[in-house]
Amino acid sequence: MENMIQSDVSKQTLSVRSSLKSAIVRRLFISLVFLFLFCFLVVPLISIFFEALRQGAGVYFSSFADPNTLSSIRLTLIVTLAVVPINTVFGILIAWTVTKYAFKGKNMLVTLVDLPFSVSPVIGGLIFVLLFGEHSELGRWLIAHNINIVFNVPGIVIATLFVTFPFVARELISLMNHQGTALEEASLVLGAGAWQTFFRVTLPNIKWGLLYGIILCNARAIGEFGAVSVVSGHISGMTNTMPLQIENLYNEYQLDPAFALASIMSLFAIITMILKMILEKNVQKAANGRP
């Protein structure tokens, strides 16, 4: 570049100047973005681990001896294990229906899938309190028969289902739209059944997108605060999930255990990010590698 500038100054002055300028601008932009991300994402994340481990490994691990904390971890795992499979199955079902069939009201269905994203999680939680609480006929009947949905584990599962519903469906709809129906049609024409077509043709094509959706759904299920907070009733050792227990510990002046638990959740987040990075490449390939 420098040689060029020296050899042919007169002709290229203008364009060189502008490219030089843009090089500076580019570097400036890149460093600004990095600085921003460092200050607002990396530093806070590191500080969680720093705070958690400040009192040494002994205090860190003793944080997890608290039965209420242990129970919050267990509850979060139960909720996640219940929510992710259900949303995966329904996500596939909806994506399949929307992309492989033509029917009236299809656009509305696609819009509906996004509803949990546009509704605040607090309202998501409140809907279920109104539906299954003492307010409604249904709620009163359930409570009278000792079936407690809200302020109990099922309520937390349902609220989390609501909030995490769009992840798998959205991911698959865009991927399957891109891929079209040609292969499935071929498969059906050649005599394969619907089930066979799904498992031998569709599933292998969407597997990366599916995994990607599952991972996002999983991350949100673990981390959901707002909707769960409304339906939980905040009973220590029973209906506090990990995020709620972190708030609880913080409010009890137990800062070290709060940060210790927060560090576990951050670890989940980092693992999610890494998996996401790996999967993203494969999803791109799957979307582009089709005829």
Binding site: I86, G133, N148, V150, F151, N152, P154, G233, I235
Partner: protein
């Protein structure tokens, strides 16, 4: 056809889940079993009190009956907690910040009788407290009484009276001061309250949230707080960082307790729930109460801890405001004095 199968399977999963959830909740309520669960739905600053009290009660109950009792706690703003019980949270006992919040449960659900407050001694309030100021060490803004809170250079942290019981006591304590200062002149009282609440920097939903805002996030010059909450901040976060200021006049706060009869009946916990609340009135219970900076009803134990409970002029909710039902309606319901004087800053 196959898709329908899938659908049925999913429905089954959901059904199974709710069954698991409700059965696990029900299993704690065995009537004659060796262990029993009790759910105490409480307000914000009682976390430490009931942590200690629950252990003492479990030991006492084990010795008396051989039964292992596990008390589960739920804490939050008193109004919000009352709301949850009304919505169906199956509390065996409620220990809230003010009787109005338990009245609401009785009136809206009928799960406990309307005369619940006559069931236990001292209007069902085994401990009292009062409202004080927590200021930064050395009292740099020279905050000594309610009138200082209306100064332009003072910023205040207090929770939201709509959701927090403590905040409603705070509000009424300030009101009582203004009422005496302005000789019951409503216009002047409201102007005073308006000035005071225009200095509020953060309106948290519960007392504990307000405390952490003041003590840990370092916002505000003064926290209007429960006496017990103020003492706890001193002990948890360092006596050299904050100090307590007692105003010239405050309010006798009476946080009541009650068994939610219908819930306890359906959970099979009536006996243990009643014993639990009665234990608050025993010498052991009162001692734990005093140690956690609540003022015990027992005179001799109050005297023993007299140093931490200075005598100041206290008005009562019944004597000064005509009871909670009236105070709630006049001041905190929609369109009440709080709505008239408070405008959120945007």
């Amino acid at each position: 056809m196959k898709k329908i199968n899938l659908f049925i399977v999913s429905i089954l999963i959901v059904g199974l889940l709710s069954a698991c959830g409700s059965s696990s909740a029900a299993s704690g309520s065995g009537n004659s079993s060796k262990s029993v669960h009790l759910l105490n739905v409480s307000y914000d600053p009682t976390r430490e009190l009931y942590k200690e009290f629950n252990q003492a009660f479990a030991t006492y109950w084990k010795g008396k009956t051989g039964q292992t009792v596990t008390v589960q706690q739920s804490h939050g703003g008193s109004g919000a907690q009352s709301r949850s019980v009304i919505d169906g949270l199956k509390a065996d006992v409620v220990t809230l910040a003010l009787s109005g919040d338990i009245d609401a449960i009785a009136n809206k659900t009928g799960r406990l009788p309307k005369n619940w407050q006559q069931k236990l001694p001292d209007h069902s309030t085994p401990y009292t407290s009062t409202i004080v100021f927590l200021v930064r060490a050395g009292n740099p803004k020279h905050i000594n009484d309610w009138s200082d809170l209306t100064r332009k250079d003072v910023s205040i942290v207090t929770p939201n009276p709509k959701t927090s019981g403590g905040a409603r006591w705070n509000y009424l304590a300030a009101w009582a001061y203004a009422d005496q200062k302005y000789h019951h002149n409503q216009t002047q009282i409201k102007a005073f309250m308006k000035q005071l609440y225009s200095n509020v920097k953060v309106l948290d939903s519960g007392a504990r949230g307000a405390t952490t805002t003041f003590t840990q996030r370092g916002i505000g010059d003064v926290l209007i707080a429960w006496e017990n909450e103020a003492y706890l901040s001193l002990n948890e976060l360092g006596k050299n960082k904050f100090q307590i200021v007692y105003p010239s006049i405050s309010i006798l706060t009476e946080p009541p307790v009650a068994v939610v009869d219908q819930n306890a009946k359906s959970n099979g916990t009536e006996k243990v729930a009643n014993a639990y609340l009665n234990y608050l009135y025993t010498d052991q219970g009162q001692e734990i109460i005093a140690k956690n900076y609540y003022r015990p009803r027992n005179k001799s134990i109050l005297q023993k801890y007299g140093k931490q409970f200075p005598n100041i002029k206290l008005v009562t909710i019944d004597g000064y405001f005509g009871g909670w039902a009236k105070a709630q309606k006049e001041h905190f319901d929609d369109g009440g004095t709080f709505d008239q004087i408070y405008q959120p800053k945007n």
